[in-house]
C-alpha cells in the first residue's frame, strides 16, 4: 500500500471524506479510478482523534471507566466492560456471578441495537430509506429497554470496576420478556426485507468480497471475519462473563445459505442471525441468573485505595457488535495506569477494506465501507491527522476534465 499520487491523467485519483454523506464519521479515502472502477484504494483514519489513551494516563481508574465508555457512542458497554475486566484481573477483584449475568444481558441488548442500527445505515447507503426507518423503528424498542435498565439510551454507565451499578430486579423481568417477544415477532419481517429484496440482492451479492485467506491474514474480527468463514468469536473462544455458562456457536453465513462467499450480503446475514442469537442468549441469562451482590467493592473510596495498590498487567476483552475489543492495562502502584492500550474492533477491520474495495465500482464504496460497520471514533482514540498538504480533489471524468478543489463536500 503506497501513497497514491494525485494525478491529472487517467487513471484518475480521487479522495472521499473526511465528511461525506456515506460516512457517518470522519475518515478519508483515496481511490485510483478507471472510469467507475476502483483500481487501488487507500485510507487515512485519525480525523476523530481525541487522545483518549493519553488522557487516561492522567486520570484515576473510576474516571477512566466513563472516559472509556465515551470512546464510542454506539458500543456503550464494550469499552468500559473490557477496561473493567482488565483492571479486575490486575487487582484480582472477583465479580459476582449476578453482575456477570447483568453485564451479559446489557451486552447482548447492545448487540441487537447495534446490528439494527447497522442494518438501517446500510439500507440508507443503498438509498433504501424505508428499510432504514423500519430498522430504526424497531431499534427504538431496544433503546427504551436499555434506558429502562440503565438510565440512558446511549452511554449506559452501568459497568463499574467489580460489578455493575444497577441491578435487574424481578419486576423488570416482565418488561424484558415483553420486548424479547416483540423482537422475535418483527425479526421475520426484517429478515425478509433485508434478505429477500431483489434490489438489495442485486447490490450486495458478490460485492466487496473478502476471501477466507485474506480474512485470516489481515486479522479482521467480528462479523467481518465470520462472514468470510473465520469462526472467531470471543464469546465462544474465551470464557468470560456469563458466556462461559451458555450454549452458543459462532454465526457464519453458511448456516442460512449453505455457502460462504464473504461478500456484503454474507455480512448482512451474519448480523441478522446474530440478532436472533442475542435474543436467545438473553433468554438463557434471565432463566439462569443467580442471586448475589452486584458490586464487589461498593465503596468508591475503598475501591480507589485498592486500585492504587494494584500492580501488574492484564488484557480485558469483549466481543463487541463489531468484533473483538481489547484493553491492555498495566498498573504500577499509582492512581493512574502505567499503560493503557485500547484496541477497537474497527482497528482490526481497517485492513480488510483494501481487498474489498479494489475492483469494485464507485457506487459500491458506501455500502462496502459500511459493511464492516466501521466505528471510526473507536479506532481514532489516540490522536489526529493534520491537513495533508493541500487537499486536492481530482475527479475522473468522461471528457477529461480535471477539477482541483481545495475544499470538501460533506454531510455528517
Amino acid at each position: 500500500m503506497k501513497t497514491l499520487e494525485i494525478k491529472k491523467t487517467a487513471p484518475y485519483t480521487t479522495q472521499i471524506g473526511p465528511a461525506h454523506p456515506a460516512l457517518k464519521e470522519p475518515v478519508m479515502f483515496t481511490f485510483e479510478l478507471e472510469g467507475e472502477r476502483i483500481r487501488k484504494a487507500d485510507f487515512a483514519p485519525g480525523k476523530a482523534h481525541r487522545g483518549i489513551e493519553w488522557m487516561g494516563l492522567r486520570r484515576n481508574c473510576v474516571q477512566i471507566v466513563y472516559l472509556a465508555e465515551r470512546i464510542c457512542g454506539i458500543c456503550g458497554i464494550t469499552h468500559s466492560l473490557s477496561f473493567c475486566r482488565a483492571i479486575e484481573q490486575v487487582a484480582q477483584i472477583q465479580v459476582s456471578n449476578r453482575a456477570h449475568y447483568i453485564r451479559t444481558i446489557v451486552g447482548e441488548l447492545e448487540r441487537i441495537h447495534s446490528h439494527l442500527l447497522w442494518a438501517g445505515v446500510a439500507a440508507h447507503e443503498l438509498g433504501f430509506d424505508s428499510a432504514f426507518y423500519l430498522a430504526w423503528r424497531v431499534r427504538e424498542n431496544v433503546m427504551d429497554l436499555l434506558e429502562y435498565l440503565t438510565g440512558n439510551r446511549v452511554h449506559y454507565a452501568i459497568i463499574q470496576i467489580g460489578g455493575v451499578r444497577r441491578d435487574i430486579t424481578p419486576d423488570m423481568v416482565p418488561k424484558i420478556e415483553e420486548s424479547l417477544k416483540f423482537f422475535e415477532g418483527v425479526y421475520g419481517k426484517l429478515a425478509s426485507i433485508f434478505l429477500d429484496d431483489t434490489t438489495i440482492q442485486m447490490r450486495c451479492r458478490d460485492c466487496g468480497v473478502l476471501t477466507p485467506e485474506e480474512a485470516l491474514k489481515l486479522c479482521p474480527v467480528g462479523p467481518t471475519a465470520r462472514a468470510s468463514g473465520v469462526r472467531k468469536d470471543v464469546r465462544v473462544d474465551h470464557p468470560y462473563a456469563a458466556y462461559a455458562d451458555l450454549e452458543l456457536q459462532p454465526v457464519t453465513p453458511d448456516q442460512l445459505t449453505g455457502e460462504i462467499r464473504g461478500d456484503v450480503y454474507d455480512r448482512i446475514i451474519v448480523r441478522l442471525l446474530e440478532v436472533k442469537q442475542s435474543i436467545g442468549i438473553i433468554r438463557q441469562c434471565l432463566a439462569q441468573m443467580p442471586d448475589g451482590p452486584i458490586l464487589a467493592v461498593p465503596k468508591m473510596a475503598l475501591l480507589l485505595a485498592q486500585l492504587k495498590k494494584a500492580e501488574g498487567e492484564a488484557v480485558g476483552r469483549h466481543e463487541a457488535p463489531r468484533g473483538e475489543v481489547m484493553h491492555y492495562v498495566r498498573m504500577g502502584k499509582q492512581e493512574s495506569p502505567v499503560a493503557w492500550k485500547v484496541k477497537a474492533s474497527s482497528y482490526s477491520n481497517y485492513m480488510s477494506w483494501v481487498p474489498m474495495l479494489e475492483g469494485e465500482q464507485v457506487a459500491d464504496i458506501p455500502i462496502i465501507v459500511a459493511s464492516i460497520d466501521p466505528c471510526i471514533s473507536c479506532t481514532d482514540r489516540v490522536t489526529i491527522v493534520g491537513d495533508q498538504g493541500a487537499q486536492v480533489w481530482t475527479k475522473e471524468e468522461l471528457h477529461r476534465l480535471s477539477v482541483e478543489k481545495t475544499r470538501q463536500l460533506q454531510l455528517g
Partner: protein
C-alpha cells in the same frame, strides 16, 4: 488439530527462541458460574527471537494478532504482541503475549507484516506514537498523527519527548473567566482556579 497446553506452548517457543528466551508465566482467569478458565501465556524475549518464535507459533496454529501494545518503562520501551491461537474451538483459545524490551538508545524492531499482514496498522501506530523504528515496514507513513505534527514528539512517551504541556488545551476552562461569582463568594477571589 492436536491442541497444546499453555505450558507446552511455552516449551515449544522456548526452544525456538533459544538463549534469547527470558521468562514466561502462564495465568488463568475464570468468570461465570461454571468457572471455565481463560488461559494466557506471557513470554518475555529478546528482540532477535521475536521472528523465530512467531514463525514457530504460526506452525502451531495461524495466530490472530490482536494488537501490539506498548509501554514506556523509563529506560526502555516494552512492546507486547498479543496473539491468539486455537480460536474457533469453544473455550480453548489461548492468548500468547510475546513481550520484547527495547532500550531507548536503539528502538528498532523487525517487521512481522510478512508473516501476519494484518500487523501493519499496529506497526504504523507504534512508529508514530512511541517512536519505534520498524525495519522493512512496507508502508511507513503516519497513520493517526498529522503530517504537520512536530517531529520527535511521541504522545505515548513519558519523558521529555512526550507531549509538552503547551500542546495541551484545557477545554473545560474556556469561557469561565467571565462567569459571575458563585453564590456567597467574593468577586475578587473568584479568578482562583486550580
Amino acid at each position: 488439530m492436536k491442541m497444546l497446553a499453555p505450558q507446552e506452548i511455552v516449551d515449544v517457543l522456548k526452544e525456538a527462541a533459544g538463549d534469547a528466551f527470558k521468562e514466561a508465566r502462564c495465568t488463568e482467569w475464570a468468570e461465570g458460574v461454571k468457572g471455565n478458565k481463560s488461559r494466557q501465556v506471557w513470554i518475555r524475549l529478546d528482540r532477535k527471537a521475536l521472528r523465530p518464535a512467531l514463525k514457530r507459533l504460526i506452525e502451531i496454529h495461524f495466530p490472530h494478532l490482536g494488537v501490539i501494545s506498548c509501554t514506556d518503562l523509563g529506560e526502555e520501551v516494552e512492546l507486547l504482541y498479543h496473539l491468539f491461537v486455537y480460536y474457533g474451538v469453544p473455550h480453548s483459545e489461548i492468548m500468547v503475549t510475546l513481550a520484547v524490551s527495547l532500550p531507548k538508545t536503539d528502538l528498532s524492531i523487525p517487521t512481522i507484516t510478512d508473516l501476519i499482514p494484518g500487523a501493519l496498522v499496529s506497526e504504523r501506530e507504534k512508529q508514530e506514537m512511541m517512536g519505534i523504528r520498524v525495519e522493512n515496514i512496507p508502508d511507513g507513513r503516519r497513520m493517526f498523527l498529522p503530517d504537520d505534527f512536530p517531529e520527535g514528539v511521541y504522545p505515548w512517551r513519558k519523558d521529555a519527548t512526550g507531549i509538552p504541556s503547551d500542546m495541551v488545551k484545557e477545554l473545560w476552562t474556556t469561557g469561565r473567566e467571565n462567569l459571575k461569582p458563585p453564590e456567597g463568594a467574593g468577586a475578587t477571589e473568584e479568578e482562583k482556579k486550580e
